[in-house]
Structures are given as structure tokens and as C-alpha cells.
Subunit: 356 residues, 2 copies
Amino acid sequence: MKKLINAVPDVVKEQLEGMAVAHPDLLKVHFDENFVYRADAPVAGKVAIISGGGSGHEPMHGGFVGMGMLDAACPGEVFTSPTPVQMYEAAKMVNSGAGVLFIVKNYTGDVLNFETAAEMALADGIPVQNILIDDDVAVKDSLYTAGRRGVGTTVLAEKIVGAAAEAGYNLEQCADLCRKVNSYGRTMGMALTSCTVPAAGKPTFELGEDEMEIGIGIHGEPGQKRMALTTADEITELMAKEIITDPAYTRIVRELSDSGEWVEKSLVDEPFQRGDRVIAFVNSMGGTPVSELYAVYRKLAEVCADYGIEIVRNLIGPYITSLEMAGMSITLLKADDEILKFWDAPVKTPGLRWGI
Amino acid sequence: MKKLINAVPDVVKEQLEGMAVAHPDLLKVHFDENFVYRADAPVAGKVAIISGGGSGHEPMHGGFVGMGMLDAACPGEVFTSPTPVQMYEAAKMVNSGAGVLFIVKNYTGDVLNFETAAEMALADGIPVQNILIDDDVAVKDSLYTAGRRGVGTTVLAEKIVGAAAEAGYNLEQCADLCRKVNSYGRTMGMALTSCTVPAAGKPTFELGEDEMEIGIGIHGEPGQKRMALTTADEITELMAKEIITDPAYTRIVRELSDSGEWVEKSLVDEPFQRGDRVIAFVNSMGGTPVSELYAVYRKLAEVCADYGIEIVRNLIGPYITSLEMAGMSITLLKADDEILKFWDAPVKTPGLRWGI
């Protein structure tokens, strides 16, 4: 295992220490309860946006704490869900009275723990809502998931909903917008190499020198198919077509009603259509350099044009990673005026910054 | 060779195509003469800042073209110097009349070619100056270099001098500032793995599973020593101490006199001192994820404090890479008020953006 780490049990803590020392103007780390929060939290009158999940996907989520994005992030151990207590303590710290939106990636542990945290917050009188991100078109179910996994759209949702909260959206409006972003976003990933979880000390899976894994998850969990490695153009075309032609998708989610009860809702994602404008996000899994992402983006723009889909914004780089895995993911997010307005709004975090 | 590429001869061209499609608001690519330039060049009255070198270090240099940083970047093939004609054509394209500063990393090919380009520009009546970056404390000479290599300080110099040019510095003032930044900056790198040059198709060097290379260059060229892999803390301490305690360093550079003749100058870098304020730059070589860089930054802050050196700004991420090499470099740049003012100024490029 070749990593720049110290003792394996300290990996996450020491990364957080580094962040706290590097960015005191943006964020603080609560080391007892283990969460990252905005240096100026709670922000008066603002809905607090909180996310979290296993570590190993940096800069997501801790690196997205700051003005215009997250109020707090709860990191678990590498690829392990954080606990309900972490989430609840983070909610108490950053709630200004306007309530808390939990943005939850669809992994069984995260979903359950964020539900428990929401119940704890509600019991304290903190208004709260949980919105699921499940945007991975590659697999129906997976090792850690019932239904689609939450992947690249999470980054875009945190940016867009974070900006809306900054602009004064109330909790219901933030939840509506987050639901829409999830419904408009679709992602697919691929891997050239495995990653190595520090506690395991060996690669999560093995790939031959001439193989790649299509539809990989962000935890090194198996994807759709293992194939012979081919060109960037063929890989990009395969993935982009699968994203663009993905049919309507229905899932059942649990959200909180006005009276604080869990209710099941059936939510449908409509397929992309000719004439759609999109934000295109080409993401490195960690070990793939940005130079290769531009080769992918070049072909992605061609495929989108072929389908009459116009890329109006883009994000290219390592934003939701899987440790040092080599590979990439493509996310397309249908973008209406509301989404674009909040995408373009200023953001100041360690991992994403513009306009300020 | 596992990379997201198409045919090997097209690697650089297709990356440039991707950049051109992704960032038309920021930059254009001149495909005949093979350079990247600001979409709004030439900027009236402004000194043009140009850099370049072999590809494979992205986002440097092409990703730093835009407001507040570079006016043009000349990419060679991977790890291969661009040609004098590229540099000269770029200079003609972006020169507003206020002249051109070439920021040149100290590699034999780059130095010679930028000198020839400067002579071609001068012959056309374009005011020009060449300033060398040679900040790598690891080796005195190397495979591609007489004297110290130009590494991490290049990124900081491009940001700082780019902002000064934007603020109205004339050519001589830009050259003075760039010389100062080079004199104030020191860097050291290390590798956990090799990189693979596409045209070679196999790793540049071999490292055992329990080995690392200290003092590596950004082309995979050998470093100072090969050692058993140890902890992030020990690696960081070793490198930081070597940077901080680096003694006075003298080199001979060739710069243009007012009358357009090459003159040799002896320039001395003074060592760091207690009480110095610095910009700390922890850089990924490409394959190391940002999470590990924070573990390094945490220790770096401790070591600096031990030496009475205050980190007042930082930059943490992959900015000057060596393809997909795993590893990192540390740069410390002594920062006075002039340097900090231009560091903090707005920048809008694909690779570095804030304040706008």
C-alpha cells in the first residue's frame, strides 16, 4: 500500500487536522463529534445544508464546506457511513433556526443513519428534511445499495442547493430544488485501476493490465461489466450514450411530512430530450490526471451535440473521488434557469471556489 | 499503459481540443501554431505573460491561461520542449505593444528555445524579457538540466506576475517581480510511483512496493535518493527541513539588456529566516489524491512553526503534475506585501480561479 499516510487508524483524523490548519477562514473541525462546519456557522436566517458519508471521496464532502455550499459535513471512516450522532451534533451546531437539509447519497448505511439523525433533530425542534441523491445509471442495485447509487450529482446538488440557501430559500424550497437536481442528474463511472482502503491494505479488486471496469461505484464496488481497455473516445461514447438514453426511472424515497412523519413518495426521473441544456461534469476518480479528463470532455461534447443536447456549463477535475483509483465519471445535469442561476452564484470552499 | 487516451500521437492535440471546447470564454487554441491564448488577447496596454514547456504537467501551463495569469502557453509534446516558432507566434498574437515576459522553467531545451524565440520577437520589435525559474533544492544538476530544475514555484510565479501585469506593471517591473519570486521560492518533490509517457508505453522507472524516490523531478527523472517508504510525517519533515535550511544559492542566468544583448547575471537566493512569512504549496504529482495532501500539509505547518516560519497563504492540490505519477511536492515561497497583494488578486483560468 503506497500512500502518504501515518498510522492507518489516524488517516481520517489527520486529514481533518490538515484541513483545519489550512482553511481556518473557511471552516472548523469539531474533533470530539467529528464533523466539519463553516467558520461563521450558524448563519443567521439561512437554511443549513449538511451532507456526509464515508471518507475517501475528497474533496467531497468536507472540502465543500464554506460560503455558498455546505454548512457542515460528516465524515465516516474510509468508505464507512458516519453515525447519526455526528449528523445530529452537526445539525445542532449549524442550525440558525431556519432548519437543516440533509443531502444523502443513496447507500443503505447513510440513508438509515441520516433518518435517525433527522428524528433526533426533530425531537429537538430543529426543522429538517432528508433528500436522496441516487443518480448512477450503471446499476440497479449494488453491494451497498438498494436502487441507484448516489454519485456525481451530489457535488452539483451541494453547489446549487447551497447557493439557494445562501440566497434565502426556505427549507421547503431547498428540498424542492434538491429533489429536482437529483431528478435531472445522471452519472456513470469507470475504473482503470482499483483503490486501496487503508484498513484493508490491499486493492479492493484486481484488474488486468488490459482491462477496465465500466459502471464502477465510488467505493470500488463492482460495476456493470469488465471489458478490454479501449480508447477514450469509445469509453466516453459508451458512457455518454447510456446516460443520455437512460429511460424514465422511478424510485420510492422516504421523506418527512409537515407533521414529522416518514412518508413514502414515488419520484420519477424523466429522460433527457433533444434541446435540453446541461451542466457536464467530468470527474477524476482520484488517480486520473486532468489532462486525460479533457480528452474525455472533447468526445463528450461531440456525443451531446449528436443528441441535440447543449452543454452550457462544465466542471472538470477530481471532485468526488475513490481514493487513488484511476478512472473517471461523467455526470449530465439538465439545467433550467433556476439551476443555472445558483450554479453561477459565488462559492468559497477549499474544493470549489469562484466569484469571491 | 492504462490511460484515457486515443492514438498516442494525438494525446496533446486532443487535450487541447478538449480545453478549447470546454473553456471558450477563457481561452482559444491556435492549432496551426500550437499554443493556447487568452480569448480576449491582446489586452490593451498590458504586458503579456507567456510560459510553456513539455506537456504532461497539467493544469500547468495551458490551464493557467486567462484573466490574471497567463496570456499564452506553449505546450510541447509530453515532456518535450515546445519550439521557438510556437513561442514566437504566441508572442506576436498576445503582444499589445507593452511587451512580453517569457517565464522559463530551467530545462536545457526550454531555455534555449525561449532564447531563440526572444531573439525572433526582438527582431520584430516586440519588447521581451526571459526570466528563469530554478527552484528545486533536491539536485544540483539533473538529466535535463544544468543547475536546479524549475518546478512548483513556476505556478506561483505565473499567478503573482500575471496579477501584476493585470494591474499595470510594465515589462521591467514584471521581470523584477518574477526574478524575486524565483529567488524567494524553493521546492522539493517525491514519488511513490513512476509515470508512463504515452510514446514510451512503459513506466519511466521502477519502484519497489516498499520504496519511494525523494527529490524526484516532474519528468520522472531520478531524484536525490531512493528510500524505504515511511510515514507521511517523516517524508514531510525530511523535505520541509531540506527546503527551509537550504543555504544561499547562486546561479548564472542570461537575460536581455536594454540594448537587446544577452548578458550574464549572477543571482543569489538568500536562505529562509525565522520570522519569514510564506505561501505554502502542497502539490500532487497527479496520482495522489487531495486527502493525502492534507496529511502532508498538517505536518508541514508544524515543521514551519518549529522554524519560526509563518504560513500566511496556501495552495493544496494537483497544479504541476507529472502525468499520473503518485507523489507530491512542497514549495515554500517567502511572501512580502507585494507578493501577497498579487497572490490575493482575482484570477480566472481553468486551473486556478478566485475573486471573479
